[in-house]
Subunit: 229 residues, 2 copies
Amino acid sequence: MESRCENCIIRQFNSLRAMSKEELKHVSDSKITKTIKKGEALFEEGDKLNGVYCVRNGISKLSKLSANGKDQIVKLATKGEVLGQRSVIAEESTNLSAIAVQDMEVCFIPKESITNTLQKNPNFTLEVLRHMAHDLKEADDVIVNISQKTVKQRIAEAFLYLKNNFGEDEQGFLALTLSREDISNVVGTATESAIRIISEFKKKGLIHTSGKKIGIKDERKLMEMVDGF
Amino acid sequence: MESRCENCIIRQFNSLRAMSKEELKHVSDSKITKTIKKGEALFEEGDKLNGVYCVRNGISKLSKLSANGKDQIVKLATKGEVLGQRSVIAEESTNLSAIAVQDMEVCFIPKESITNTLQKNPNFTLEVLRHMAHDLKEADDVIVNISQKTVKQRIAEAFLYLKNNFGEDEQGFLALTLSREDISNVVGTATESAIRIISEFKKKGLIHTSGKKIGIKDERKLMEMVDGF
DNA sequence: GGGATTCTATGACAATTGTCAGGTTTGAAA
DNA sequence: TTTCAAACCTGACAATTGTCATAGAATCCC
């Protein structure tokens, strides 16, 4: 495992690549590498964050608790993504919880390294800004999807999303296995509804399952379903 | 009407306040003031924007067309807000349409002034970043609300939002009058459903109406309803 | 002022989704 | 291996929401 940020490939995928050598050195000297087990939290809604987390490996769900006690998963973050940025930048406690859905390896970077660089290196700030602009656009898309598509369409879309973003294993199952509850929290529905629709998809031959694992059998039909056919 | 940005009070409410005198002068020299009538578009989904719009007066809805032909209103922007930033920063065509729901007065600022300043003035970039961080948080909240609350709750919440953000007129009606269709597009439901619930609220004495205008009568009950009582 | 058009309203019904109440399976720990 | 809790699944039913049809009210424009 590479322990110096300067040599870390992950960096290429996020805004840290816009840092100067000295800035990176400073980050590298102050960072702490952590291992997070599946089910453990990086941070929880309402926490005051003293830094950001750079994901080296594994996947985290970012979720928010609603008034009725259900979690809504807003985003799934993987290798290369930086978590907690929004909170550090706005100097507010975080509005989301980050919980590992797979074992993770992350680097914690104290906020001083970040805020200092934000004030001095416009390239870095601009890079962060671009990432946030992208996140905002995605959030807009989620809003439209959730409000205008049926649960069935959203679940179909979620499966395609999982395939495109996290890939499949050797046997053709989605590489990221989520519990039925997590799936329902991604699409914003009751767990029973999600399960029912998964069963229906299975009967129709759109997917196949083995335990929690789900594999896509008929991608085209799923895509048609998302578009309303 | 003040025509020099340097003297414009609106600026205090947005990221332009972080610009230097010279930068502001440049913006001021290149900006174009426009009047937009209610119902007209500032820009439409898919447009490539050559600059941003600083709202001096009036209100715009930011919406996105869904596959089934319905608009989803993602945000209502008013005095002081800068529209089109996301698109200019990410150098992509815009993902939202901006349509005036009231007559508007806006300043169009060519993107060169913005991108130049973004590259040179970290304070400005940071300020823009802070605003976008705030927008992102709000978007997260919208996602949770839409997916976890009933239509009734969302409509109650929308009325409270309209009161808190745009105020009331002398007779106690919400200062921003939206059509029933716009209301349904804010909360993400069918127009008929929105109308039905508005009627119900009226019968229960939570609101009163006069034509399209809506006034809040029992704010506490509305708040309770939002929280699920 | 009259006619056309758009917006608002309501009823009837169907489809979707949530809730509750059981079962069964799975998987991890003792 | 057994055991137990958690996760998954299904049925029955109720509540919510969407759709279609229609009619009245408001508004715009000539």
